[in-house]
């Protein structure tokens, strides 16, 4: 044993499952759906061996409910699904936001709307991930572009959910989920794992939804002496339903503040050759891979292109995008949808540079060639 690195050939979905186990996930509830099913299948083998629980529920509403229940009992929990199932999960995702229950939801995006294209990739759920559940709420959404990222961002998703007591959505797409790539597995002791903060005060002093400097109250697992009330109704600091405006407002604002005051910790992005870029491609998920290749080829042709890859999609990484916009004449946003993140880029860019889009919704990947062509066209 010891600090040995293992090099493996692994599928994206399997890497998500491995990442979850490494992060300490010991509960999975789900309902089969392409192209996410391998995550469930993999965990159905591994979890019982680790003393954890895998359960196939009757639908995705149930899966999300069971995940929240397990987390309230103190166990790190996740589910994985795709578009139709993600739609069904929305109500209970909102419950997890409102009641501040850590959990991870993986959505392997396929073409939509409705049953759409079960076995083809798409990026059509980016806005749904942000606004899919009703009501004003913050949410953290990550996007993985490679098999190693499937692993590392799943670990990160659990850490963020535990730190901020909030559901985390991890977006994959059919390409990233199903491709096989080399992954170097870090030894367990090198992984940084965060576990939710539990109360240290005696039960009679515990205030389950108290405001704290971090905005995140300590969370007591059910059954350990801290008897309290958890509800999807808007509640006071003790967890009891409230109709008082002086309690409602501060509660909702705290939910936002616990995320917004920690943007530097939450935002993850990577830049590639952006220093002198005249055009910066902003991409995420499988499209970021094509974009990187396109940037390399553009540079070979003497075109000053760069890439900003977003790994945190929501909350939107305003400062990274603003920097890119300020530096380049043009920003190009290729997406496998009709333009979801590009709207946000335009909003943030606010006329500083030109924002070009490249949208594809035919179930095929945006190729490096297509991005390169657009770069060439725009710069000439």
């Amino acid at each position: 044993m010891g600090a040995e690195r293992r090099e493996l050939l692994m599928q994206g979905n399997e890497a998500v499952a491995e990442g979850a186990l490494a992060a300490g996930c010991r509960f999975f509830a789900g309902y089969p759906i392409t192209p996410s099913t391998e995550i469930a299948e993999y965990l159905s083998v591994k979890l019982p061996h680790l003393g954890g629980t895998f359960i196939q529920m009757e639908d995705e509403l149930a899966s999300m409910g069971a995940v929240i229940g397990a987390s309230l009992a103190g166990v790190k929990a996740m589910t994985a699904t795709s578009g139709p199932g993600f739609s069904l999960m929305q109500e209970n995702i909102g419950f997890a936001c409102e009641a501040e229950v850590p959990c991870v939801v993986v959505n392997v995006m396929r073409g939509g709307p409705s049953t759409g294209l079960p076995t083809f990739p798409a990026q059509g759920d980016v806005m749904q991930a942000r606004w899919g559940t009703h009501g004003d709420h913050p949410i953290i959404v990550l996007s993985a572009a490679s098999v190693p990222e499937c692993f590392s961002l799943t670990v990160r998703a659990f850490n963020l959910s535990e730190r901020y007591r909030t559901p985390i959505i991890l977006l994959l797409d059919e390409v990233v989920a199903h491709m096989r790539e080399k992954i170097t597995m870090p030894p367990a002791e090198e992984l940084e794992i965060f576990n939710r903060v539990t109360p240290t005060v005696p039960p009679e002093w515990y205030i389950p939804y108290a405001d704290t400097p971090s905005g995140v109250p300590p969370m007591a697992p059910f059954g350990e002496g801290y008897r309290y009330h958890v509800t999807g109704l808007t509640h006071d600091i003790r967890g009891f339903p409230t109709a008082r405006d002086d309690e409602i407002g501060p509660f909702i604002k705290r939910l936002f503040r616990k995320i917004s005051q920690n943007f530097p910790d939450i935002h993850m992005s990577q830049t590639f050759r952006t220093e002198d870029a005249e055009i910066t491609v902003i991409a995420y998920g499988c499209v970021a891979r094509s974009a990187k290749r396109a940037v390399v080829e553009a540079r070979d042709r003497g075109l000053k292109a760069g890439l900003l890859k977003l790994m945190t999609v929501w909350p939107f990484d305003r400062s990274a995008v603003e920097q890119a916009a300020r530096r380049s004449k043009v920003v190009l946003v290729p997406e496998m949808n009709m333009g979801q993140i590009s709207r946000e880029v335009k909003r943030v860019n606010n006329g500083v540079s030109t924002v070009e889009t490249l949208n594809k919704v035919d179930g095929t990947l945006i190729t490096p060639g297509e991005i390169l062509e657009k770069i060439t066209e725009v710069l000439s």
Partner: protein, 277 residues
């Protein structure tokens, strides 16, 4: 009376949560009382109880009691309960649901929880109506009755919740009225002690919505109706289906042994470990 005061002090969040939201005369409080009495008699510690509810008038009950309490989404209480029980099997998990909660929006979860046999007790508040939203018909509103969304008369036929639970595979199923509070106490006690998925269908009155639209009188009139129309299951077995039309069959409908999900899953864990080494 002294006994009641003792229970109030021991189990209610009396300093925090009162007055409550139920209408005066509502039957729901009797069910909550029956649960508290059953828990007290069994001697469960408050820390080991998780009381979960869905949405509705019934869903508002857990907030008043000093257990680990969880008020979930409409129809989904059993799914949260499944997660909690599997994650921490040492907890005693009890679920309160309305008739709409359990058999309309949550119908799928209900039959699957019964089939799966996770060790959870489900107590259903059957008041034949959607109380909280103001009196729309539910899956247990009888044919021909009125509701705000059946202003002429109701043309669908009612579920028999307890019988549904029997068919779906619950190991313990009983039915009782709030009129017979003592019987309800005993039935809930049995359900809590039973290992596996147990169901208690409680017939309760919503005089404010269901009673009012159908001119069924006051809460007391509706309680008397429960008294006059209940037939213990032993007696019901000797009667024809015509004679049982519109009657409430009370008592234990089924009490059987079936493999419990957590125990089965423990065997899976053992097997997975054997293979792994």
């Amino acid at each position: 009376m002294k006994e009641v005061t003792k229970l109030i002090h021991k189990y209610l969040r009396h300093d925090k949560k009162f007055p409550h939201v139920s209408c005066p005369g509502c039957g729901n409080g009797i069910i909550l009382g029956a649960l508290i009495r059953a828990i007290d008699r069994i001697g469960f510690a408050k820390d080991e109880i998780v009381l979960i509810s869905g949405i509705g008038c019934s869903g508002r009950m857990p907030v008043y009691v000093d257990f680990n309490t969880l008020h979930t989404t409409h129809g989904r209480a059993l799914t949260f309960a499944t997660g909690i029980k599997l994650a921490k099997p040492e907890l005693t998990v009890i679920v309160f649901m309305g008739d709409g909660d359990a058999t309309a929006i949550g119908g799928n979860h209900f039959i699957h929880a019964a089939r799966r046999n996770v060790d959870v007790s489900a107590i259903i508040f059957n008041n034949n109506i959607y109380g909280m939203t103001g009196g729309q018909f539910s899956p247990t509103t009888p044919y021909g009755m009125k509701a705000t969304t059946a202003p002429y008369w109701h043309i669908e036929h009612a579920f028999k919740i307890a019988e549904l639970a029997v068919t779906a595979g619950a190991v313990f199923v009983g039915r009782e009225t709030v009129y017979n509070a003592k019987g309800l106490d005993a039935l809930i006690e049995k359900a809590l002690l039973k290992k596996g998925f147990s169901v208690v269908e409680t017939i309760t009155h919503c005089h404010i919505q269901y009673g009012r639209y159908n001119r069924l009188g006051t809460a007391v009139d509706m309680l008397k109706w429960q008294r006059d129309n209940s037939i213990p299951v032993e007696k019901a077995q000797k009667l024809s289906s015509e004679e049982l039309e519109g009657k409430i069959i009370t008592g234990v409908l089924v009490d059987r042994e079936l493999p419990i999900y957590q125990h089965e899953y423990d065997r899976i864990r053992e097997r997975a470990r054997e293979i792994a080494v």
